[in-house]
């Protein structure tokens, strides 16, 4: 993994305290999480006495008065100017960041993995893919990097931002104190149990799973129930059309797609809701979950990506996506008032740590080294040690592939074994080396908590990013796994890469084409020791296998 080298001229010069701190965002939207965060930071920076403006390439009409064109930044910036670059999608602003004077830092909101959009929106899928490319390109232009969750920090760390840390997410709670729309509230107050979901209709939010869970809830537990979906829905978009079709196929009653709602209507939705349901598969930080908590609505959420971290042990986070089981959680919240009140109270306590004053103080502490021009810690560049990528190792350490991977690592100096973490933690930690005996193991958080049949590992964005940035020889112990398929064609041409596969999970044509003759099959009964020695010889840069 490449290490960010010292504070150099590309990233701006180390100097005294910044005179102005500006922000650069690809698009400033009204009401979305990134836009709200950008505006909050601007106000905070101005409150601390810095001149602060927002620069964007595109913006909503409602934001016209508070934004400047991104191209003006090069003209406005000086040597004592600091720039916070927000990154959440393809921006094409890397050349501008590279050319701009002054010091720069990255604020990473996370990028939705492209796999969610494949087959539904090719343009967005490509944009997500390019956004991850830009994340790697930005490394050499910024001195500091933050993300809004440990889950995202893990990916930054894997991408070669060694000092990346968490910046507390600031939520403007006052914005939620809006009187509910009386007409909508009256409409919903007909004795039905209202299950609410708020969010954009994109494949990663898995609205189809929300529909499945609600159907199970209505059929098995509460016939007098209603599903409220607040968020833009276009019948002309492929994914949205499939969601509408699924509603027809499942046939639940009282499913209401409200479309884009204003603040008063959203208040009415939360005021009428019995429970908030999220089955999202990817969240960099889930603001609607916190909004539901703030408004006293118990939350049931699928524990993917940064959701367990956002929930912080409050609400009911489930690692099962079985509709009947999740429907059971909705039912207990409705039928057990004591349990419901305990959930709501725990949610309130969770929000206490996100108090605005405390968050503002923590944001200031986090940003101070950057604003004062302190140089990041120097780190020696990582050597070209071999990496063995075995996603299933943590889930099944005694499987033949896992034992082979371990045997290869043990034969190579400084080699490490990268795997997908089996256990989902409420708080993800940046991947770091752990030792299992003499084997150096690095565990990456999966994007989704469920392991498939036969121990098939869920995808992990951090692992994929880490593999793309690996500096030494690589062995895919499981060349048929998703991580090999996604990364092998994007590795540098000079990379030394090999793979080994099992018959139950054969590599696809793309992997076979790239790896060519450097692909071994692990057949049942094959001698693991001799195969490990052969693979270690292939990976060892100096050509001298090393026995520990």
């Amino acid at each position: 993994m490449p290490n960010v080298s010292l504070w150099n001229s590309k990233r701006g010069t180390a100097s005294s305290s910044a005179g102005a701190v500006h922000q650069l965002v690809p698009r400033l939207a009204w009401g979305d999480a990134v836009g709200n965060q950008v505006r909050y930071l601007r106000d905070l920076l101005r409150g601390w006495g810095y001149a602060s403006e927002i620069y964007a390439e595109q913006w909503d009409e409602a934001c016209r008065d508070e934004v400047r064109p991104a191209l003006d930044y090069a003209r406005d910036a000086g040597r004592d100017t600091a720039l916070l670059v927000h990154h959440s999608f393809e921006s094409r602003l890397v050349p501008l960041v590279a050319k701009a004077k002054g010091r720069k830092a990255l604020l990473y909101h996370n990028v939705t993995p492209e796999r969610f959009f494949e087959g539904t929106d090719r343009h967005v899928a490509r944009g997500c893919m390019l956004a991850r490319e830009e994340l790697l390109q930005l490394r050499e232009h910024v001195t500091h990097a933050w993300a809004y969750s440990h889950f995202s920090v893990e990916e930054l760390s894997a991408a070669g931002y060694p000092d990346a840390s968490v910046l507390p997410f600031a939520v403007d709670w006052n914005a939620f104190n809006v009187a509910p729309d009386a007409a909508l509230r009256e409409q919903m107050a007909d004795g039905c149990a209202n299950v609410l979901f708020v969010g954009r209709t994109v494949p990663s939010k898995r609205l189809e799973d929300v529909l499945r869970v609600f159907t199970a809830y209505q059929r098995l537990y509460q016939p007098r129930s209603r599903l409220l979906v607040a968020g833009t829905l276009y019948s002309s978009a492929p994914y949205d059309a499939s969601v509408l079709a699924l509603r027809e196929q499942l046939g639940p009653d009282r499913v209401v797609f409200l479309g884009r709602v204003d603040a008063a209507q959203l208040s009415a939705c939360f005021a009428s809701a019995t429970a908030y349901l999220s089955m999202s598969r990817h969240e960099g930080f889930g603001v609607p979950l916190l909004e539901a908590m703030y408004r006293g609505v118990p939350v049931v959420a699928y524990g993917a990506a940064a959701v367990p971290e956002t929930m912080g042990g409050a609400g009911l986070t489930t690692l099962s996506d079985d509709p009947a089981q999740v429907a059971g959680l909705l039912a207990v919240l409705e039928r057990d008032p004591a349990l419901r009140s305990r959930v709501v109270e725990a949610q309130r306590q969770r929000l206490a740590s996100l108090d605005q004053q405390a968050v503002a103080q923590r944001v200031r502490e986090a940003l101070t080294p950057f604003l004062q021009g302190a140089a990041p810690h120097a780190r020696p560049p990582a050597g070209p040690a071999a990496t063995v990528v075995c996603p299933g190792f943590d889930a099944a350490p005694d499987a033949p592939m896992s034992r082979l991977a371990r045997a290869v690592v043990d034969r190579l100096p400084d080699a490490s074994l990268w795997t997908v973490r089996r256990q989902v933690l409420p708080l993800q930690l940046a991947p770091r080396d752990e030792h299992e005996g003499v084997t150096r193991v690095r565990r990456f958080t999966p994007d989704e908590p469920s392991f498939g049949l036969e121990g098939v590992s869920p995808p992990s964005s951090s692992l994929e990013t880490g593999v793309r940035c690996a500096s030494g020889p690589l062995l895919f112990a499981g060349a048929g796994e998703e991580v090999a398929r996604r990364t092998v064609s994007r590795l540098p041409p000079e990379a030394c890469v090999a793979g080994v596969w099992e018959a139950r999970r054969a590599p696809d044509a793309g992997v076979k084409q790239v790896l060519g003759k450097k692909l071994w099959e692990l057949t049942p009964g094959r001698d693991l020791v001799s195969l490990a020695a052969e693979l270690a010889r292939e990976l060892d840069v100096g050509g001298h296998p090393h026995a520990r």
């Binding site: 494949e118 986070t317 349990l339």
Partner: protein
């Protein structure tokens, strides 16, 4: 639900599981009907490839670059090919700019056609599922009906006397 599938600090996982256990057990017929419905509506694996009927058009969507120049003339042919190549090399930036909007239109129309294709596929699947569901419910209804008693074979109706008057 298994304890390891739940993350909650307060109430504890055990308290939630106890509350779940107190829920009334849903009727087996309802559970079975739900299981069948959920299984029937499981979306097929997403196919990221273009629909085959659009593949040909997709390969030709970029109108800026034509096929490699060629000529059937035996003697002047090579000179013509060279001239064509030189022309394209010199004017390619202008060709690109002139055809940029055409390429954008081609891509947009291909996306629209792919979307219509997807809509049709989803609609067909929805209708098929509805038909299967209706047939299944019809069968259930018919099976619940009491068996109809055997009616005695009816005699063929006697022919009524003709009202026609003979002329």
């Amino acid at each position: 639900m298994r304890a390891e599938d739940l993350i909650t600090r307060d109430p504890t996982v055990e308290a939630v599981l106890e509350s779940l256990a107190r829920l009334p057990t849903p009727e087996p017929e309802k559970v079975e009907a739900l299981r069948r419905r959920l299984a029937a509506t499981q979306a097929p694996a997403i196919n990221a490839a273009w629909p085959p009927f659009l593949e040909g058009a997709r390969l030709k969507r970029d109108a800026r670059y034509a096929d490699p120049p060629s000529s059937h003339r035996p003697l002047v042919g090579p000179a013509l090919v060279m001239a064509k190549r030189a022309f394209r090399l010199a004017f390619q930036p202008f060709i690109n700019e002139a055809l940029r909007r055409q390429v954008e239109f081609n891509e947009a129309i291909l996306d629209a056609l792919a979307l219509i294709h997807e809509h049709q596929r989803v609609q067909a699947r929805t209708q098929s599922l509805w038909r299967q569901e209706v047939e299944r419910q019809l069968e259930q209804l018919l099976s619940r009906l009491p068996p109809t008693p055997q009616e005695p074979p009816k005699e063929p109706p006697r022919r009524a006397p003709s009202r026609r008057r003979g002329r």
